[in-house]
Structure formats: structure tokens, C-alpha cells
């Protein structure tokens, strides 16, 4: 079917899954508020949230398989959107499943926590669908505001509050740049429609238009903040550390994926021709992110913080795919997002189960000799870490994710071979900290009198098993995932639809 986005109900139809999720979230918000905080209630709301997510997924799958398209408009109805949606929804479901069990341990009994994830996810889905900078802005804010709250969920923890404050202040600050960027792009092109911007850059030869370029620069700042690219990354470690573990996982995987989804769409559909301006900055952003992230991660003694830096690093790798600026880059991103989401949630499932009640942080040394007491947990965690490292077979899909990104970077007409080399060299540094954890688990003795880590709760265990299983499976049979990513990649914006008859912009 083809939605005509000019017709309101058809626009609603095109937003079907998003609406299902939002309506479900609103209903559940009411349900959550209905009863006083209790473990049973949050569990119920959590399970219901997962149900909503599953329903949304089903709808996404239905839309995706029915081959729905839409007329040009403010939202996209394409494979990229559905593919990205699936990643967000998987992340959300995993975060909620872990959260159901780990939140009470952190004395978070608010049932709203799960609902907020639904809201954030709705924001992401909107982001993925956005074909207008206005929608981009809305999506970013819907997502961000929910996540600000999620970070500060643990009212009893000063760390949680501090993380929330930092994220909020800096997030809002960066929103200012993003918004200003949108304004300048709008001023230069006269439109906020993403494909139209691309079109007008051609038709009006705006490649060297300074207002446009400054606008793009400001947009880039906003995006770079969201994907935690160096030097706009400084919030990330603190916030990841302060946030409750499932939220950290959610931020590392889904929020980052959403930010990249929008990044790719805007860059490929709007600014593809401006690479003369953005290639060098993104190149340096990617390089700095890989180098700084990896190097600083080496010095970390806390698992969550280490994983936070790891998440920054992966942002750097994906920036290489952005720099490629090709549809293949977006395909690589989709593949990467799946592998990375699985690995991240697997890892955080372990971290959450290892975190002692009332503590946010688990030191790496807490994992000493884990193998001797919990061999499978240690093996599972190692596989996730190796996936993050991008190691073949043992790291499963993580290797092919990196392979795909490298492939995208190296086939790009933009000659990114040096960046690819930098990527692999910094990967070696990353082995230093990923393997450090593997090493403490397997090669150090369990300290005398170390407390037994509690048995994995069922949902967490399910998440871990599913993630590890999929990582390994996709590491041997990545075919389907690769095809899926390639089919759902973005296409460089075709000049389509009636061009709005607007006079050429007169620059001030």
C-alpha cells in the first residue's frame, strides 16, 4: 500500500506502529500510577510493556513485509525505518526485561520506569521515520526527555541524580545547537524537509553556501553529542555510570542506534553533496572518538564505565560508516546496530546480575575468578566482550559487524582506507580492556571470601542466553542479517515528487 501523507488519516496510518506504542505507553502510564509502588505492580507493568512492544514489533513486521510506501512527506515509510524500529524495540524489550528484575534490587519500584522506556522508544521510532527536521527535533526531544528521567530513576541514589542532571543540562545545551542548526539550514534552503534540502542543494547550488554550512556544522554538533563523539562525549561515562544498569544498556544500545539512524538519514538524504565540508570534520570526529574512547577505556576500573567508553568507541566506528556517506554505510550501521545491541545487552545482563544490591558500580576486580564459580556466566560475558571487540567466531556477529563497517568505509568513494586502518589499530587497544575483563574472570583465582554472585533471575538469564545465542549464531550464519541490512539500507535521495514552488532563498 502507499500512504498519501497529505491526507491526515493516511498519515496516521503511516505512523501506525508508533501510535500503537505511544497509546500503549499512555495507557500503561495510567496503570502504573493507579497503584502504589510495589514489586508486583512494577513487574506487571513491565510485562505489559513488553507485551506492547511485542505488539508493536508485530505491526512493524507487518508493515515491513507488506511493502508499504508513502508519498513524499514529513515521514518516511521505508525499510530503513522498520529495520531501525526493530533494533529499538529489541533494545527496549531487553532493557525492560532486565529492569523488571534489577530495578527492585536497586530499590527502584516505580512502575513508570518501564513506561518511560516505551516513551523513549516511541521517540526513537519517530526519529527513524523522520523525513523532516521538525520531526527530527520532536523525536529527539521525546526520546531525550524520557531518558533524562530514566537516568534519574533511582531517587535514593545521588549518582543517579547527578547523572540525570548532567545529561539533562548538557543534553538541553546541545539541543540548542541542534535547533540552531536546523534554523540555519532552514534559512539557507527554505525548507525543513530532508529530501527537499538535498534537492535544493543541487538545484540552487548551495554547496558553498555559508549559512547552510554553518547550519550543517551546528547540526553535526547536536548529532555528535547524541552519539557521544569526542569531544562531545564527556557526559556519557558519567551518565552511563550513574544510570540504573538496564537504562545504561538501553542508552548504549538503543539511544545510540536512534541517534545514528537519524544521522544516517539526514546525511545521506540531505547533505550527501556537502562532503567537501563535512568529510574532514567527521573524519576527525571518528578518529578522535576511536582513539580517545579506547585509550581512556584502558584506564577504567569499573565495568559500567568501561562499557560506557566502549560505547563511545563504537560510536566512533560507526562514524566511519557515516563518513562513507553511502547507502552501504547505512546497511553496515543496521548490521552493526543489531550485533552491538545484542552484545551490549548480553554484557549488561551480566553486569546487572553481578551488581550488588544498593550499589551502582561493579568494579572489574569483582569479576576475579568468576569462571570457577559461574563458568557459563563468565563464558557468556566473554562472548559479549569479544563481540564488542569484533572477534570472529568467538565474538560471533561482532566480527561481521566490524567487517561490514570496514567494507563500507573502504568502498566509499571518499577514500577512507586510513580511517579503516586507524579503526583496526584502535581495536587492538580495545583488546586491552575487553580482554582484561576476560582475563580477570578466567585467569585470576577467586578471592578468598568473595561473595557468591546471586543466581541469574529468569528474564535476565533469558536475555543473556538469547543475546549470546544470537551473537554466536549470527557469527556463523550472518547471511540473513546481512541481506536484511542491505535490503533495508537507505537509498541516496532520489529527486522525487513535485518540488514546492518556492522562490530561491535570498540570503541575508
Amino acid at each position: 500500500m502507499t500512504f498519501d501523507l497529505a491526507i491526515p488519516w493516511q498519515l496516521m496510518g503511516a505512523l501506525g506502529p508508533d501510535l500503537v506504542l505511544m497509546v500503549g505507553a499512555m495507557v500503561l502510564m495510567l496503570v502504573a500510577a493507579w497503584k502504589p509502588e510495589s514489586d508486583a505492580h512494577q513487574r506487571f507493568v513491565g510485562q505489559a510493556s513488553v507485551a506492547v512492544i511485542v505488539a508493536t514489533m508485530a505491526m512493524v513486521v507487518w508493515y515491513a513485509t507488506s511493502g508499504a510506501t508513502a508519498s513524499p512527506g514529513i515521514i518516511a515509510v521505508d525499510g530503513f525505518r522498520w529495520a531501525a524500529d526493530m533494533v529499538f524495540l529489541i533494545g527496549a524489550a531487553a532493557a525492560i526485561l532486565i529492569g523488571i528484575e534489577s530495578n527492585p534490587r536497586d530499590r527502584i519500584l516505580a512502575a513508570e520506569s518501564h513506561v518511560l522506556i516505551l516513551f523513549a522508544t516511541a521517540g526513537m521510532m519517530i526519529l527513524a521515520s523522520a523525513r523532516d527536521l521538525m520531526i527530527v527535533f520532536l523525536g529527539v526531544e521525546i526520546m531525550s526527555i524520557a531518558v533524562y528521567v530514566l537516568v534519574g530513576l533511582n531517587r535514593s541514589s545521588v549518582r543517579s541524580a547527578e547523572g540525570a542532571l548532567k545529561y539533562f543540562l548538557l543534553g538541553a545545551f546541545s539541543t540548542g545547537f541542534l535547533l540552531y542548526g536546523i534554523a540555519l539550514v532552514y534559512g539557507a534552503t527554505g525548507t525543513t524537509s530532508i529530501p527537499l534540502i538535498g534537492e535544493r542543494i543541487i538545484t540552487y547550488s548551495l554547496v558553498h553556501h555559508s549559512m547552510l554550512l554553518i547550519g550543517v556544522g551546528l547540526l553535526l554538533i547536536g548529532f555528535a553529542f547524541k552519539v557521544a563523539a569526542v569531544p562531545f562525549h564527556m557526559w556519557a561515562p558519567d551518565v552511563y555510570e550513574g544510570a540504573p544498569t538496564p537504562v545504561t544498556a538501553y542508552m548504549a544500545a538503543a539511544v545510540k542506534a536512534a541517534a545514528f539512524a537519524m544521522f544516517f538519514r539526514v546525511w545521506i538524504e540531505s547533505f550527501n553533496l556537502l562532503d567537501g565540508a563535512w568529510l574532514a570534520p567527521i573524519w576527525w570526529l571518528a578518529a578522535a572518538t576511536m582513539v580517545v574512547g579506547n585509550v581512556v577505556a584502558l584506564a577504567q576500573r569499573n565495568v559500567k564505565r568501561m562499557l560506557a567508553y566502549s560505547s563511545i568507541v563504537h560510536g566512533g566506528y560507526l562514524l566511519a560508516a557515516v563518513a562513507a556517506g553511502t547507502p552501504l554505510g547505512s546497511a553496515a550501521f543496521l548490521f552493526y546496530a543489531v550485533a552491538y545491541t545484542l552484545a551490549t545487552f548480553g554484557a549488561f545482563a551480566v553486569v546487572s546480575s553481578m551488581t550488588k544490591p544498593g550499589e551502582y558500580a561493579s568494579a572489574i576486580s569483582d569479576y576475579d575468578g568468576l569462571w570457577t564459580t559461574r563458568p557459563w556466566l563468565a563464558i557468556g560475558f566473554s562472548i559479549c566482550l569479544l563481540a564488542l571487540l569484533g572477534f570472529p567466531i568467538f565474538g560471533g556477529a561482532g566480527f561481521f559487524a566490524k567487517w561490514y563497517v570496514l567494507q563500507a568505509a573502504m568502498t566509499s568513494p571518499r577514500e577512507l582506507v586510513p580511517l579503516a586502518v586507524l579503526l583496526v589499530i584502535t581495536s587492538v587497544v580495545s583488546a586491552g580492556y575487553y580482554l582484561h575483563v576476560v582475563r580477570v574472570m578466567f585467569m585470576r583465582p577467586r578471592p578468598e571470601g568473595a561473595t557468591e554472585p546471586p543466581a541469574l533471575a529468569p528474564y535476565t538469564r533469558a536475555v543473556l542466553v538469547a543475546c549470546v545465542g544470537l551473537i554466536l549464531l549470527l557469527g556463523v550464519f550472518p547471511n540473513r542479517l546481512a541481506s536484511w541490512a542491505r535490503t533495508n539500507a537507505l537509498v541516496a535521495a532520489p529527486l522525487q515528487g513535485p518540488t514546492a514552488a518556492l522562490s530561491p532563498p535570498t540570503t541575508p
Binding site: 548532567k166 543540562l169 555559508s210 562531545f232 574532514a280 576527525w284 584502558l298 584506564a299 577504567q300
Partner: protein, 732 residues
């Protein structure tokens, strides 16, 4: 020539591969016995329970006791090895059979006219493209001579060992090693190409290593074995490089092909000279020539029969053999040949000077061996290949005799010391001997035969061979290719005269030190100590028997190659037998070196002979006059010597010099510069760990920047923003 059509094809020669195989079988049997016994029956190795109470300085001598008196702790009846009987049969037995086969082959060869060597190809060993190396054996005059010496003298020494080693706890192991040595030695001389020879070459080095360190529980013995192997390997380096060059320039390593193709190399050119010099480096290692002679004296740490077989009669002469084997190459490389001759001459004199002041009877013989090997190199160096080989053979006779005789003496000394429990005294030091003639008359007489032979007194064998060498050196000084070449700026003829003079000088010294040895050992008063004297006696027949055989050979060995000038004077036998025998092998090369007009007139030859004889006799007389065995005191009572005597006694301090200039610096550089400096310091600490530490430090710095303050973060954000915007602004 095809193997099957060769005149030797249907004779005993087709069993030539049995020659090395027989001792190999002996090795396997004895080795199995040895390992089985020690693994199954517990440690029964030598010196396992000997107190090492008195090591003394002559550690190399110290271990002789075990030869004769293992298990002396309170037991006066020695315990023989459980498998001693089997080993006594197998060890010498295979040698007897091998010698028989060698004789059969020899007679087969005498019966046919041979123009090319008989090559028996066993299998293709290293087939790699252009490089085709076969495991093949080659029979010709030269290898036949060597085979006879090796199996014949080897057999005698095996028999001698049955007595000498009878009570050693490592008895089967000893025979295993000895058999293995013979195997490799036969491979060395029978090899049909350089590579097979090299297998034997290194193999004999290995056996030498094992036998020198036979009593390995004494560090000095193990040291000596190791030193021998390592110094030999320096020589092997040269051998290998020579092979590489041969392959690179001639594309083959077969003796026959190389002999045929040698003319392709420009005569006197750099290539053939280099090949020969590298080969000679190998020979210098194996045959203990300057600068690689240092291992041989130390090698006396091994059992005395080993010294006789390996370090006198056979292995150390392999270098001479190799030069003769490569005569086609050396004959077109006059500079290399001159070098060989000169090094041989210098070594002969140098070693002789050291021999003058040694007290250990075996050390005297060791330096004597070095000196005589120098003689042989003079021979092969001046292109008188037959003379070199001739001296090799006679030397094998009389030096084996000398060593075995000294073995008998030492054996007797040990018996005596053992009987009186004087384990602190050195049984090999001549200062502890004296007057042994009375107790060991047979040994005395036989050793005098050998001494006269080595001194070059007619009609003993050494006279003929030595004279032939000196005569050849003198003769080559005119008209030969050598005389026309120049070495180190000196004309070849001058060099050859120098060689000749050095040869004469060392002949004089040889006569002196050998007489000295005999005087101190057998003459004068006895210094063994009154308590020990009654226990001194002749060794059993199994040991004395071989001595007698060797004595006869030392006496008549000269008849192998009587010079024409003598047979012309007195018809005592056929002249030049060996020369005719070796003619197909070295004749062409000899003729090429000799060139024109190098034949000496009979009168000149007679004068030279007279001169040589006079010198030999003069040496004996000088020694007899100057040395007073009567005033010598036993070792424990001796004072350290000084001046030139001290220098000679310490062998010109060559070992110390090598140690200070080569060994220690290499070790120190390897340890401090290469290992702790480059490996641990530079690469590992600085580069590897350093970069890791630097990365970690940068990470820590980055972490410090992450101050936790929102203000900092905002500043960073804005700074980054400004940088980015600047980049975009530039692009517009």
C-alpha cells in the same frame, strides 16, 4: 661410469655399504644394552658414587681412574658391567668383520684396473631441483687407504679398549660411541659427495664430543667435549660455505662431477681460492690447525684409546683427507695451497714448542699430534698429496702406538695408585713416573719404536713419510704453480722455503720433546712413590697385543712408499707403491701443481735426506744431553716454572687469549647488549611495555580531564563546536 658396468661391480666392493653398516649395528646393540641397563637397573653410570674429593688442576687427567678402578669404594674386586661380555664381543667383533670386508675389498681393487671410482648409490637423499644429492659411497684408492686405516687401527684400538675399559660402569656405552664413531668415519671417507662426507664429518665430531665427555660427571670433561664440538663447528662453517660455493658455481656436490668440472672455474681465481680456503677452514677445525687447534689438547680428557683412535689416527686426519679428496680444486688454487702449507708449517712448529714443556704425557702426545698434522698439511699444501696421505698412514701407526702405550702406562699407574689408595696423585703426569722401563719393558720397547718413527729416524716409518713431505716442499719451490703464485706479497718460492725451514725446525723439536717424554717416563729413577712402585706392572695381553701389531707397522710402514732414490741405492722393496695406488685420484692434481722441472736430482735428494736424518738424531742427542731425569721431582714437589718455560707450559696462553677476546665478549655482548639491552630493554620495556604504559598513561590523563564537572564538559563541548564550525566555515 655406471655402477653396474664398473669393474668392481661384481666384487666384494658391492658390499661397500656394509662397511659403515657393521659398526652402526654394533652401535645399536651396544647403545640398547647401555640404555636398557641404566634405565632398568638404576643409575650405573660412571662416578655415580665416586667422591670427587680431589679435582686438582689437571681435571682432564683426573678421571682416568674410572677406566681401571670403578667401584673402588672399599671393594677391591671391581664390578664389571652386567652386559660387559656382550659388549666385548659386539664392539670389537663388528670391527673385525669390517676389517675383513675392507681387506676383501682391497684385494678386489688390486685385481682390477680402475679409471674411475666405484660409486655405490644407495638412495636419493636430497633431490631438490638442480640440487641432487645421493646417499652414495665411493670407493677409490684414497678411500680404500682410509678405510683400511680406520678399520684396521680401529679394530686394534677396540681390542685394546676391552682391557683398558674393562671395569668401567659405562662399558657398553663406550663401545656404542666407539662403534658409532667408526660408522661416521667410514661415511666420511666413503662419501661420494661433499654432503655425505659432511655427514660423517659432523658425525665424528659428535662422537668425539660424546667420547671426550665420556666421564661427563666431571665438569672439565664435559667442557672439553663441548669445546671440541664448538671449535669443530667453526670449521664446519667453512666446510658448509665451501659446499654452497661449489653448488652455486658448479651446480653439483659429487666428487666425480666436481673433479671433471673443476676446470670450469678460472684457475687461481677468486672463486676457487675462496672455496679452497673455506674448505681448509673446515680442515683446520677438524685437524686442529692454527687457529682452531685449541680443542685437541683438551680432548685428552677422554679415555686414552679414544685419544688414540679419534684424536690421533683417524678423525683428526680427516682434514688432510679432505684436501686430498679436493685435490682437483686445490691444484688450481695455488694461493689456497700455499696457505695450507704455511698454516701447516706454522702449526707444526708452534705445537712442537708447546710439546717441549708439557708434563702430562697425553698432552705431549696431543701437541705432537697437532704438530704432525701440520706436517701432513705441508704435504697436501705443496701438492704432494700422496706424501700427505702417506704421513697420515704412518702417523696413524706410530701415534696410535704412542697413545696406546701411554694408555698402558697410565693404566699401570692407576693400578698402582689404586692399590695404595693414592687417588690424589696425577697418573698422567710424567713427573710422577720415571724408570718405568723396569716394570713395563714391552711397552718401553714399543714406544721407543714409535718415538724413533715420529722423530724421523730411518728406517722407521715416519722417516720416509716426513722426508717425502720435506722433499716435496723443497722441490716445489721451483717451477711449480705454487712457486709462481704470491701469498701475502711473498713469492711462492719464498713461502715454500720458509715452510721447508719450519718443517725442519719442528722435526728437530719433535725429536727433542719425544725423547724428553721417553726419558721422563721410562728412564731415570722412579718418582711414583715407594709405596706404589711394587704395583706397577705390564698391562694384560689384550692391551699389549695391539701394541705389538702397531709396533711392527710403525717399523715397516715406510715400505708402503719407498722413495726411488733409496730403492735405487739399496733394493729393499718396490718404490712408490702408495703413489701408484693413489695415482688415479691425485695424480692429475699432483702433476698440475708440480708443473715443470720440479724433479730434484738424486744428489739433492740424498743431501736433503741426510740433512733430515741428522736433524732427527741431533734432536735425540740434544734431549739426551740436556735433560736430566735424575733431578726431576714429582709433581707435588715441583715449583711453578717461569719465563718462556711458563709461556710454553701454558701453551702460549692461546686459550686465555681466545677466552678474553672472543668467548667472554660474545657472552657479555649477548647478555648485556642483545638480551637485557635490546630485547628486554629496548624492544620489550621501551617499545612494547612502553607503548602500553604510554597508552595507559594517556588514558589516565583522559580520565583526569573527565573531571566530573558539568562546566568542564560544556567548555569542551563548545571548544569542539568552535573547531567544527571553523572547519565548516572554511569549506564555504
Amino acid at each position: 661410469m655406471l655402477e653396474s658396468t664398473h669393474p668392481l661391480a661384481d666384487t666384494a666392493a658391492r658390499f661397500v655399504w656394509w662397511l659403515p653398516t657393521l659398526p652402526l649395528i654394533g652401535f645399536l646393540i651396544n647403545g640398547a644394552l647401555s640404555v636398557y641397563a641404566s634405565a632398568k637397573l638404576g643409575p650405573a653410570d660412571p662416578s655415580s658414587d665416586h667422591g670427587h674429593e680431589a679435582h686438582g688442576h689437571s681435571a682432564n687427567a683426573h678421571h682416568q681412574p674410572h677406566a681401571a678402578d670403578a667401584g673402588h669404594d672399599g671393594h677391591d674386586t671391581p664390578i664389571r658391567h652386567r652386559f660387559a661380555a656382550i659388549a666385548s664381543v659386539v664392539g670389537p667383533g663388528v670391527m673385525v668383520v669390517a676389517f675383513g670386508l675392507a681387506l676383501a675389498t682391497f684385494f678386489a681393487m688390486r685385481g682390477v684396473e680402475m679409471h674411475s671410482p666405484y660409486v655405490n648409490t644407495l638412495f636419493s637423499w636430497l633431490p631438490v631441483g638442480a640440487l641432487q644429492v645421493d646417499a652414495a659411497l665411493q670407493l677409490d684408492g684414497l678411500s680404500m687407504v682410509m678405510v683400511l686405516v680406520i678399520t684396521g687401527i680401529g679394530m686394534l684400538i677396540h681390542l685394546f679398549s676391552v682391557g683398558y675399559m674393562q671395569d668401567d660402569p659405562g662399558y657398553p656405552r663406550y663401545f656404542a660411541y666407539l662403534n658409532l664413531f667408526v660408522f661416521f668415519m667410514l661415511l666420511l671417507v666413503l662419501g661420494a659427495n661433499y654432503v655425505v662426507t659432511f655427514v660423517g664429518w659432523e658425525g665424528v665430531g659428535l662422537c668425539s664430543y660424546l667420547l671426550i665427555g665420556f666421564w661427563f660427571s666431571e665438569q672439565a670433561n664435559a667442557d672439553a667435549g663441548k669445546k671440541a664440538f664448538i671449535v669443530n663447528r667453526i670449521g664446519d662453517f667453512g666446510f658448509m660455505v665451501a659446499m654452497f660455493m661449489l653448488f652455486a658455481h658448479l651446480g653439483t656436490l659429487d666428487y666425480t662431477t666436481i673433479a671433471a668440472k673443476a676446470d670450469q672455474l678460472p684457475a687461481g681465481g677468486i672463486v676457487v681460492t675462496a672455496i679452497c680456503l673455506f674448505l681448509f677452514l673446515g680442515c683446520a677445525g677438524k685437524s686442529a690447525q692454527i687457529p682452531l687447534f685449541v680443542w685437541l689438547p683438551d680432548a685428552m680428557a677422554g679415555p686414552t684409546p679414544v685419544s688414540a683412535l679419534i684424536h690421533a689416527a683417524t678423525m683428526v686426519t680427516a682434514g688432510v683427507f679432505l684436501v686430498a679428496r679436493s685435490s682437483m680444486l686445490f691444484s688450481i688454487a695455488p694461493v689456497a695451497s700455499l696457505t695450507v702449507a704455511l698454516v701447516g708449517a706454522v702449526t707444526a712448529l708452534f705445537a712442537a714448542t708447546i710439546g717441549l714443556k708439557q708434563w702430562d704425557i697425553k698432552k705431549v702426545l696431543a701437541y705432537s699430534t697437532v704438530s704432525q698434522l701440520g706436517y701432513m698439511f705441508i704435504g697436501v699444501g705443496v701438492g704432494a698429496y700422496t706424501a700427505g696421505v702417506f704421513h697420515l698412514v704412518t702417523h696413524a701407526f706410530f701415534k696410535a702406538l704412542l697413545f696406546l702405550g701411554s694408555g698402558s702406562v697410565i693404566y699401570a699407574m692407576h693400578r698402582a695408585y689404586h692399590a695404595t689408595h693414592h687417588h690424589g696423585d696425577d697418573a698422567q703426569d710424567m713427573r710422577n713416573m720415571g724408570g718405568l722401563k723396569k716394570y713395563m719393558p714391552a711397552t718401553w720397547a714399543l714406544m721407543w719404536i714409535a718415538t724413533l718413527a715420529i722423530a724421523g729416524v730411518p728406517p722407521f716409518s715416519g722417516f720416509f713419510s716426513k722426508d717425502e713431505i720435506l722433499g716435496a716442499a723443497f722441490a716445489r719451490a721451483h717451477g711449480s704453480t705454487l712457486a709462481d703464485a704470491t701469498l701475502l706479497g711473498l713469492p711462492g718460492s719464498t713461502v715454500l722455503y720458509i715452510v721447508w725451514v719450519l718443517g725442519l725446525a719442528s722435526a728437530l723439536l719433535t725429536a727433542i720433546y719425544m725423547t724428553r717424554m721417553m726419558l721422563y717416563t721410562f728412564h731415570g729413577p722412579n718418582r711414583t712413590g715407594a709405596a706404589n712402585t711394587p704395583h706397577l706392572a705390564e698391562a694384560p695381553w689384550i692391551m699389549t697385543g695391539p701394541l705389538v701389531v702397531l709396533g711392527v707397522l710403525s717399523l715397516v710402514g715406510g715400505w708402503l712408499n719407498l722413495p726411488a732414490v733409496i730403492t735405487d741405492l739399496m733394493p729393499i722393496g718396490p718404490s712408490g707403491t702408495l703413489e701408484h695406488w693413489l695415482e688415479p685420484v691425485v695424480g692429475e692434481a699432483t702433476a698440475r701443481v708440480a708443473g715443470t722441472g720440479t724433479h730434484l736430482s738424486a744428489s739433492t735428494e740424498e743431501v736433503l735426506i741426510g740433512f733430515a736424518v741428522a736433524i732427527a738424531i741431533a734432536g735425540i742427542v740434544i734431549a739426551k744431553m740436556r735433560l736430566k731425569p735424575e733431578v726431576l721431582v714429582s709433581k707435588s714437589a715441583s715449583l711453578p716454572s717461569n719465563g718462556i718455560q711458563r709461556v710454553l707450559e701454558h701453551k702460549w696462553f692461546v686459550d686465555e687469549a681466545y677466552d678474553a677476546t672472543l668467548v667472554k665478549p660474545t657472552y657479555a655482548i649477548s647478555k648485556s647488549v642483545l638480551w637485557t639491552g635490546i630485547d628486554v630493554g629496548l624492544i620489550d620495556t621501551l617499545l612494547v611495555n612502553g607503548s602500553a604504559a604510554l597508552t595507559r598513561f594517556l588514558g589516565w590523563m583522559g580520565g583526569q580531564l573527565q573531571s566530573g564537572r558539568v562546566g568542564t564538559y560544556a567548555w569542551m563541548l563548545v571548544l569542539g563546536a568552535l573547531l567544527l564550525l571553523r572547519a565548516f566555515a572554511r569549506a564555504s
